[in-house]
Symmetry: D4
Subunit: 225 residues, 8 copies
Amino acid sequence: MPACSSIRFDHDRAERIGLPEAVFCAGKAPEHLATLFERFACAEEKPILFTRLEASVMQAQSAAVRAAYNYDPLSRTAWNRTRRTRPQGRVAIVSAGTADSAVAHEIARTLEYLGWPFQLFEDCGVAGLWRIQASIDEINRCDVVIVVAGLDAALASVVGGLTDKPLFAVPTSVGYGIAQAGMTALHSMLASCAPGIGVLNIDNGYGAACAASRILERLYPQHGN
Amino acid sequence: MPACSSIRFDHDRAERIGLPEAVFCAGKAPEHLATLFERFACAEEKPILFTRLEASVMQAQSAAVRAAYNYDPLSRTAWNRTRRTRPQGRVAIVSAGTADSAVAHEIARTLEYLGWPFQLFEDCGVAGLWRIQASIDEINRCDVVIVVAGLDAALASVVGGLTDKPLFAVPTSVGYGIAQAGMTALHSMLASCAPGIGVLNIDNGYGAACAASRILERLYPQHGN
Amino acid sequence: MPACSSIRFDHDRAERIGLPEAVFCAGKAPEHLATLFERFACAEEKPILFTRLEASVMQAQSAAVRAAYNYDPLSRTAWNRTRRTRPQGRVAIVSAGTADSAVAHEIARTLEYLGWPFQLFEDCGVAGLWRIQASIDEINRCDVVIVVAGLDAALASVVGGLTDKPLFAVPTSVGYGIAQAGMTALHSMLASCAPGIGVLNIDNGYGAACAASRILERLYPQHGN
Amino acid sequence: MPACSSIRFDHDRAERIGLPEAVFCAGKAPEHLATLFERFACAEEKPILFTRLEASVMQAQSAAVRAAYNYDPLSRTAWNRTRRTRPQGRVAIVSAGTADSAVAHEIARTLEYLGWPFQLFEDCGVAGLWRIQASIDEINRCDVVIVVAGLDAALASVVGGLTDKPLFAVPTSVGYGIAQAGMTALHSMLASCAPGIGVLNIDNGYGAACAASRILERLYPQHGN
Amino acid sequence: MPACSSIRFDHDRAERIGLPEAVFCAGKAPEHLATLFERFACAEEKPILFTRLEASVMQAQSAAVRAAYNYDPLSRTAWNRTRRTRPQGRVAIVSAGTADSAVAHEIARTLEYLGWPFQLFEDCGVAGLWRIQASIDEINRCDVVIVVAGLDAALASVVGGLTDKPLFAVPTSVGYGIAQAGMTALHSMLASCAPGIGVLNIDNGYGAACAASRILERLYPQHGN
Amino acid sequence: MPACSSIRFDHDRAERIGLPEAVFCAGKAPEHLATLFERFACAEEKPILFTRLEASVMQAQSAAVRAAYNYDPLSRTAWNRTRRTRPQGRVAIVSAGTADSAVAHEIARTLEYLGWPFQLFEDCGVAGLWRIQASIDEINRCDVVIVVAGLDAALASVVGGLTDKPLFAVPTSVGYGIAQAGMTALHSMLASCAPGIGVLNIDNGYGAACAASRILERLYPQHGN
Amino acid sequence: MPACSSIRFDHDRAERIGLPEAVFCAGKAPEHLATLFERFACAEEKPILFTRLEASVMQAQSAAVRAAYNYDPLSRTAWNRTRRTRPQGRVAIVSAGTADSAVAHEIARTLEYLGWPFQLFEDCGVAGLWRIQASIDEINRCDVVIVVAGLDAALASVVGGLTDKPLFAVPTSVGYGIAQAGMTALHSMLASCAPGIGVLNIDNGYGAACAASRILERLYPQHGN
Amino acid sequence: MPACSSIRFDHDRAERIGLPEAVFCAGKAPEHLATLFERFACAEEKPILFTRLEASVMQAQSAAVRAAYNYDPLSRTAWNRTRRTRPQGRVAIVSAGTADSAVAHEIARTLEYLGWPFQLFEDCGVAGLWRIQASIDEINRCDVVIVVAGLDAALASVVGGLTDKPLFAVPTSVGYGIAQAGMTALHSMLASCAPGIGVLNIDNGYGAACAASRILERLYPQHGN
């Protein structure tokens, strides 16, 4: 059998779509990931982001490799270095409950990697409506809003009726029974009566950050990444 | 072939579970319904409620039969007579939008048939949050609250966090695509983070009124129906 | 990255909706739970209920913390203290089989935490109809009835036709194959021909107890919780 | 293009599996059905049963053809002649409500066509438990029991716990919303806790009659059909 | 909290429906099962069958208890004693492949427990049609036929067209992807074009044996079980 | 029964979320729509958009009413007047095939109503890859890109890899069988490997235009709407 | 609003993938189809195939247009002219029942349009196994085999075990209830234990003919189409 | 209980359908597999392929057995010996990303076992369109093309529009949330607008190789296998 062809990186992706390389780690072979860690640990390499990276995998790497990466266990993300940080362009990340933290922080970490400022508004679930109302003015001072919620995801519609900003919604896989691992939250967000919400896959914090970045690049353009 | 056995009415149902006879008309043969209309048009019969009764079916009956019934085309309900009206026991019916009207009125009509007062709060969808907030104090003066909503059904969670009253939720089959004829609203209500909501089948306004009646009978008991 | 905002407790929830704080533990990080256990172990704190709390998590806490909580492994619930016990207001918990025990006891424990008396009627599955018939008179002496059943959940319809009390139904995730982790029981309860049943999410014993409590608070009101 | 090959009848089917030919009419072209009606109208042909045959299709045939068939609009069945009627072998057809009549009668008519006696027990839904209890002794005097029910199909489990006879269950497509055109009744019957129930496709009255006939042929064997 | 009510055995079940007690072990607490094993190990107890009983659970019992039971690891069944073996009444168990063995043997063991003879025909999958054809004559000498198959479950239709005997079909959860843990096999069997097949839940070998037993009790009646 | 409460318009919606009133007509009663047409036909009223408005409904209105509205049958939209047209802010609407035209034009018409320029790129399905490649440079000169596609919706991923602009995707209900009325296209778009795509409900052209407008309002702000 | 861009035909498709243009008519506007009929009626145009074309649409065209097309109502296909007929390359179309005729003939007509010979084997359903056995030798003399079946689609597995030829399977939307408009047949074919079957969308006869043509073009290559 | 009948191998399968024996290992008992390994390790046995064989199972065998097999951990396949290698007949295996490697290599290994040459084109996902474009000419020099992709599986449609070769598509179970373990990729491939793609079950690399082999046997026939 011929040797397995080596991975083909999409090198000009950052130029083409404004988003640098990222590696989704879940389901990838440990040896394959180890090779990537080694390669991108050297100082000359471009920035790269690893998502869905379990702490146990990172801990199995050599000290030199571990030292070369910034790893966060809650969001399960790592990078060798970030893109240049931008002075402008703030994203509001609004989540319903503590169970949504991992996804909210995947968004936060991806934005940090991409160079964009952000602000976290956690525990804003609508069963205690005063919480989102206490934060809405501050949320509306951001450029883009991302809502993170599981279960019935009612927060998306409520925020959608309170902000005129570009708005994305990320369903999370929290809950049990009819929550169906996030499917009910996903369907609920897509069926929202609040107009103009762009919905992402379940738990796809990375994608929501990219969607926000596509907008911020238009609002605050600059040369080179 | 032996003759088809005639319908067996559950005569002591009102005594057993406190709810008088009702006939769900959708899918029943016109001749079968006509026989029932004739029978219950006479003055000695007990009260009976017909639900999901299309106007065209009612219009096809004789003038005498039509005169014997109180028919409402929006809720598609008819009755020969109602149970005795109670002086106490108010139900709040809170709906999200005009598309939910048919179901909201099926609840209202069933309550009227059962003898209970009610109050309608329509167009309270959460995309304009001020609407539910303007009505919540009045809602909280009722004994039981029923939320009616389609699409993402976010209204159920919001009301669930604003009232301490017994609370039921009826999903409606409005919307298109991912609304899935009410399935998304149903799932959303069942997954609500607001505690203690009893959920009914899609468009089941009749059932929600019965659930409220079971509670009101405890709160305001009386002898005979 | 800014520090993760700390949890925002919904402090006035008990006043607003009559139900004190509860924490759903499944999926929450052990450190996060440990912090909560520490905090609510002190005598000045309000009552708090933990649900879906695995024995292994409780056993990993310090002796002082463990001593501060009343933990029940079957229902996987713990509390620091209960609300004041009420002298009146009895809930009938009717379950189909021994496999439904965990959910039936989550209801029982939540009611105990909320201060309401209850009575358990287990093994009442309809394949042996004499069992529910032997208990129905006693069930009908309670104020609210909660049916707990998995598989085809036929018990809900049978009880629905035998009681005039407010009635809730909790599907359980027992069974295999077409039982679909409780989805068939859920659908069956929602489609029940017995009128006026409020249905909860699969295995949601906590929610059913809250629904009963909303009614009991109306029947037996008192000042302060 | 070559001519469409003509229909290949499975002539020795009755000998092979003991069940004579039947034609499922729904979705078949009118001309195709007309050809079959003509052919089997002649006196020499074997018995044949037509199922799901709309009255409008039968009415569009010539008077001679119509006279050659026994057509029943409720069950939507027709035959040219029946198999020889057997003196023994009684089937109990137990249905939940009037909405299940069409399917109950498809079973009855198919049994009549196959030559087997039967007895109809309609309106036995479990929300009024006394109805099935009043009939169970008579049901238990039959050789085979077939339960017909829609919605939550709880009747199947209840009967399954009250009879020791061979038992089949046919879900019906009555109801709305979560009834899902019979899917909930089907799932409920398959998940029944009563042991030894053979389940058929939604609305498949014909199949249930055939299943019963396979048993009756063993109990009351005879030579020739 | 009041003590949990003890299990209510359905003692007269064997008399009522002709099938003695059985315990489905999956999901039951080890202590609960241990209590049952102890109780039914004594010589005076009636016969009892345990299904879905993992070998590890049985091995954890005392030597005395283990000695009191006949345990089979492939079918995961155990009994203290069987019902009296019948001289007549043979069931053909026809399975598609070796992956269906566990279910086929659950049927076999349940029949042995119930006292009925049986014959196993394994590896009869239709992709090698000669296999079922080589066995069909012998199959047709049995009184009842049970087909066990996963994946597309095509074997059910093929056998349904080759036998005139009462016929049941058990879908199995073998396969991957679109096999959907047996759901495709279940749907396929229910949609079979061969008439008169009673279908059981996925992997429900116990239920199929009970369905066969209901028939055999009619064919070969005797007094006492 | 109390009179049905009249519709509560969300008057300050345009100020709150930057999007003026719109009415979804499907499923609304003809009399209700007629009342709205009359009301908004007068010159003093604010701009209003009607979507999912069948030509037959519009034709049933009086000549005066019809003259007051701009109606387009392909997109099934009507308005009394549009918001002020903006000189800047171009949206690329990229669709896969002619079957997607109705949805593509609902986007176009909604943008025209909201005052934003747009450009249509139809018949860009990836089975003929040269079509999207011929248009990509022109597409990339727009500010926001909306992809409209049914079936496998592969166009979304391809465009997502070719543009750095904010990107939304609208699945359409074209196709048959496994296309499942747009569900497969919806799932495909949500699972896209191209990062940062915000997905809308099936056929929700109106929502996609609103999502684009939220961005354009940030890019080209102005006072008053 | 700018004019809607006209349809972009994929002119070099025949050269690129060896399959000439085809138009799927279902859901396309009558005016749009009329324009296409006019255009391709002229003698200089290339061959074009219309599928899912209702007879009523064709009858609404002018006599001149109707005369220019070869229309078949059973398969609902039309063409202006066919590709050059090939002397070699035979496709076996094997269908289960008469209800599958429309799809079987869509395959036949598409093959005729593409220039390939074919042979129809109808009514080969496995409930009468002798039918497929009587035809299998003749089937095996063809180059490619296409199985067409609905319901449980067991025919695909049986044929898959009897032929060594390239094999495709087309599920059909016949049946009711659990047949789920062809979904069960589709799943069953994908789960088939017979190896090497390529499955098409439900009712996609056109696609199956194209799949066969891709193979025949390799087996019997020639220059020009 | 009678002894379990031993496995019935389908010995003449290679002659009947041109594909030698294969064993799907997932879910089979270790002892059962061990017996097979022993048996086919002897030199006289025919070639046999094991698929879905975990490394841990192979490592548990004796050194002699392990030495007798060629095992590949990535594809989880093993064989005792391959069929005779053919000089002609090349298959292009085109995959979207590194996550699809296991399936791509199951295809490659099965082809090697069957004796057919192949060429791997990995990392051709459409989000970087240049990758498939760089390889398409080389792909088109092969006889059969197999596309392997997960998530939205857009690669199938793109390749379908760029090649005139026989084309199969294998969905993979990569991804999370709405990817639904490969179901979205499967649906997407079946709904592809590119004509003539035969689709296989999720992750069914073995089946795709068999489908290709059925074609190659026609293109490059030879006597004996």
